[in-house]
């Protein structure tokens, strides 16, 4: 029971979280998060990759349940059973990856699952009216309800998705990286939409890596680090530098073996490579024995750059020089022949054949070398696999075991071993430690260091800044498709990298 004086003096916040904890089989994703969002406020939620933002959002939207802690929505206890329950209670979520049925008209997308119906028949007029109403609320009343969603721009699709979320009259709307694939002009339009929502009393939790954007649109902020709330306050009273300090805070630990590797001859040169829209222009030079780190936000064009170098996606312009001749057209088969190897960021969808054996996965690029005239000497092939399984301490029953049965870390070792067995002298590694445990990470770091010492040239994409700072000789930052800032590691700090990645002072101006 609350005393009258208290309820009079302060309306309860739209959303209040305290002491939220969540464990995933031994790893603590959240270790005590608090968050308070007032009604009609835009609240920026900030933190590095892995700080716990996604887990927190999943708990808020009902996809996960918290292990401990309290949640209140407008003063009422809030414990959603599932995402549908969360929506009905008043918490809606807009994911970074939009969820639209692209073949269906915009109007049907907005109403999907919430159609006005009588006895199973859709009441078209009432439905359209509600869709129109939701769009009007966003200042897009003129959007064509009959055009298929897939024929709208990404920005308009986002509006359609927000309109759908508004149908349930949410009190809290969560937006995860809403501007990551928007142009600057579209970002302005989105901000206008957010301001309208705020004026209507809807609270918006705005998650973004772009700190400048957060400063412009948000009233208040909360910073997460390693699963804890480390700072909260009014946006007007904080500087970007202060936010960066809160986000990073930690000392770079000595997980990273600094092995000696002197840079040798030039082995790879990339000149103005582009593949729009994600990759606008990137140039880099790589020497034998060098580890070149590519930092940047998700969607900044890092993956597109390494894929274009390897010939997995055709570049539109620019050239790649591997040992002499410049080429624009390349294919993976030719690259392997030249001694270039590629590690995919997506182990399950691209990196490995999960239903095939470790042996087959490990030797696929060079099957022809295990015998003559297209025959494979199975004993030699197995022996090669066995050697790497031992060397890298892959935990498995036998090399004949299906790769899909291994843990993430061991799968990654198999994918890496393919490059070693080939053997590649230029290694393009896209997120080599994604989704693997700390022990395996340390092993991968050690391996990368050893490879550089042995004269291999390595390009490494990573979203984890301490890892780049710990391992690389040179780090380049990509921002909105451009590789602008390339400097020796000693000239970078974690704060500089973040600033450059989010389009801050250190990067070249955006056109």
């Amino acid at each position: 029971m609350s005393t009258p004086s208290l309820t009079l003096s302060s309306a309860p916040p739209a959303l209040r979280l305290a002491g939220i904890r969540k464990d995933f089989g031994g790893t603590q994703a959240l270790r005590g998060v608090s968050l308070e969002v007032a009604a009609g406020e835009v609240h920026a939620l900030i933190g590095e990759n892995g700080a716990g933002k996604s887990t927190l959002m999943k708990i808020l939207s009902g996809a996960h349940a918290a292990d401990a802690g309290t949640m209140e929505l407008s003063g009422q206890p809030y414990a959603p059973a599932d995402p549908h329950d969360a929506r009905c209670t008043g918490v809606a979520m807009i994911y970074q990856e939009l969820n639209l049925a692209l073949h269906l008209p915009a109007g049907e997308n907005i109403l999907l699952g919430a159609e006005s119906a009588r006895g199973g028949w859709i009441d078209r007029r009432a439905s359209r009216e509600r869709a129109r109403e939701a769009l009007a609320q966003l200042g897009h009343a003129d959007l064509d309800l009959d055009r298929p969603a897939g024929r709208f721009s990404i920005a308009e699709q986002q509006v359609i998705e927000i309109a759908r979320a508004l149908l349930t009259r949410p009190r809290v709307l969560i937006m995860d990286e809403p501007t990551s694939s928007l142009t600057l002009a579209d970002t302005e339009r989105l901000f206008a939409v957010i301001q309208r929502l705020r004026a209507q009393g809807v609270s918006v939790i705005y998650i973004s890596h772009f700190l400048e954007e957060c400063r412009r649109i948000a009233d208040r902020y909360t910073v997460l680090k390693d699963g804890e709330t480390v700072g909260t306050g009014a946006m007007a009273e904080v500087t970007i530098d202060r936010l960066v300090t809160l986000m990073t805070g930690r000392e770079v630990r000595n997980l990273y073996p600094r092995t000696e590797h002197a840079a040798g001859a030039l082995v790879l040169e990339v000149r103005n490579l582009s593949r729009r829209p994600r990759l606008r222009s990137a140039s880099l030079q790589l020497r034998a024995g060098e580890i070149f780190g590519l930092a940047g936000l998700i969607g900044a064009g890092r993956t597109e750059l390494v894929r274009a170098i390897f010939g997995l996606d055709a570049a539109e312009a620019g050239s790649v020089v591997v040992g002499g001749t410049p080429e624009r057209e390349a294919d993976p088969r030719g690259r392997w022949r030249q001694g270039v190897g590629f590690l995919s960021e997506d182990r399950k969808e691209e990196g490995l054949m999960l239903s095939q054996s470790i042996t087959d996965n490990l030797t696929l690029t060079k099957l022809g070398t295990f015998g003559r005239f297209g025959w494979i000497d199975a004993a030699r092939q197995r022996e090669a696999a066995r050697r790497w399984v031992d060397e890298l301490r892959v935990k498995c029953r036998e090399p004949g075991q299906a790769a899909g049965e291994l843990s993430g870390g061991n799968q990654q070792k198999v994918a890496l071993a393919r490059l070693l067995e080939h053997p590649a002298r230029i290694l393009l590694l896209d997120e080599p430690t994604r989704g693997i445990d700390v022990g395996s990470k340390a092993q991968v770091y050690e391996l990368i260091g050893q490879l550089a010492s042995a004269g291999k040239a390595i390009v490494m994409v990573s979203s984890y800044l301490p890892e780049l700072l710990g391992l690389c000789d040179t780090i380049g930052v990509m921002c909105r498709g451009e590789l602008a800032a390339v400097r020796p590691r000693s000239e970078w700090s974690e704060a500089d990298l973040l600033r450059a990645a989010t389009g801050g002072a250190s990067a070249a101006p955006i056109a």
Binding site: M353, S355, N361, W375
Partner: protein, 320 residues
């Protein structure tokens, strides 16, 4: 960890299935006397040859993650081609070569269209199902193509029907199965087929020549269908453009019953051969039971569903 029952099924699945259908038909009094005799098995084996040779080609395609619906039409087409050539006085060896190449040509068309138009194999081969059937009727002037005689007629029978010898077709099928099984397991080509079917993106990333490989697979499978067409010709002793309608479904069913996955990357020649045998035993047994053909069709339909369900059970862990 897999459950013991799953591991048992994985090892012996198709064999168990074959054993079950044989035992089922060995028990009833109507069939008991004749069913388990050598001569009956000779009949069953001979009746399996066409589907078995087709299933070898289809195994390549299904393991690579594809499908070929035009197999039945290809068989009809090539049997008509063979009959016309025999009419013209060609000897067995040139006819054999020409028919196999004709099948290969249809496969080449399938593969090239799949690679060049970037359409799914289901659509392309659904199209060639009609094209090849039409072409067969056109070539045969819309009727069966008859010829006096040819040594090829002897390939699906033995001189003395009661001898213990097996027809040449059976031996060809067995030999071809061994060869196919070996190259599928032990050559770069074979392992690339598995890689393509298991994960096309990985295959591409690892430098497997995906486009060229797809064309080669369909062309080679077409050669098997051509050979099956020749055995079809030998059995009927004429070229019939209306034969083997729907046979592609029997062939696909044999491969699937044999444990291959329609999503690719999984499948064995041995399994496909046992699958083909299971279908033949079912047909043979139901005939001897005196069951009407519609009943056979129902039984075989149910067996296909049952076999794939068992397949799901044994891959339970991966499916979930």
């Amino acid at each position: 960890m897999k459950l013991p029952i799953q591991r048992l099924l994985a090892q012996a699945g198709p064999f168990l299935g074959l054993l079950v259908v044989i035992v089922l038909f060995a028990i009833p009094t109507e069939t008991r006397e004749f069913f388990l005799t050598y001569h009956n098995f000779k009949i069953i084996l001979t009746q399996t040859v066409i589907v078995a040779v087709g299933a070898l080609g289809m195994t390549l395609i299904i393991v690579s993650g594809g499908i070929d619906l035009s197999a039945g039409s290809s068989i009809a087409f090539t049997s008509v081609v063979g009959a016309l050539l025999i009419q013209k006085g060609w000897g067995p060896a040139p006819v054999l070569a020409a028919v196999v190449l004709a099948g290969g040509a249809i496969g080449l068309l399938n593969g090239a269209a799949i690679a060049a138009l970037r359409l799914v194999p289901f659509i392309i081969t659904l199209g060639t199902l009609g094209v090849a059937r039409g072409a067969a009727k056109w070539l045969g002037d819309n009727q069966t193509v008859n010829y006096d005689t040819s040594p090829i007629n002897q390939w699906m029978t033995t001189a003395d029907p009661f001898s213990y010898a097996l027809p040449a077709g059976v031996w060809v099928a067995v030999g071809l199965a061994v060869v196919t099984a070996v190259y599928l397991r032990r050559t770069v080509f074979g392992r690339h087929i598995f890689a393509l079917g298991s994960n096309e993106a990985t295959a591409r990333l690892c430098g497997v020549p995906v486009t060229r490989l797809k064309i080669a697979i369909y062309a080679l499978a077409g050669c098997y269908f051509g050979l099956a067409g020749l055995f079809q010709l030998a059995r009927l002793r004429q070229g019939d453009p209306t034969v083997a309608v729907g046979l592609e479904l029997d062939i696909i069913a044999a491969v699937i019953i044999g444990g291959a996955s329609l999503s690719g990357g999984v499948g064995t020649v041995l399994g496909s051969m046992i699958g083909a045998l299971i279908m033949a035993v079912l047909r043979n047994g139901s005939q001897q039971m005196g069951w009407p053909t519609y009943f056979q069709e129902i039984i075989i339909g149910l067996v296909i569903i049952g076999a794939v369900f068992v397949d799901r059970l044994r891959q339970g862990k991966r499916a979930s």
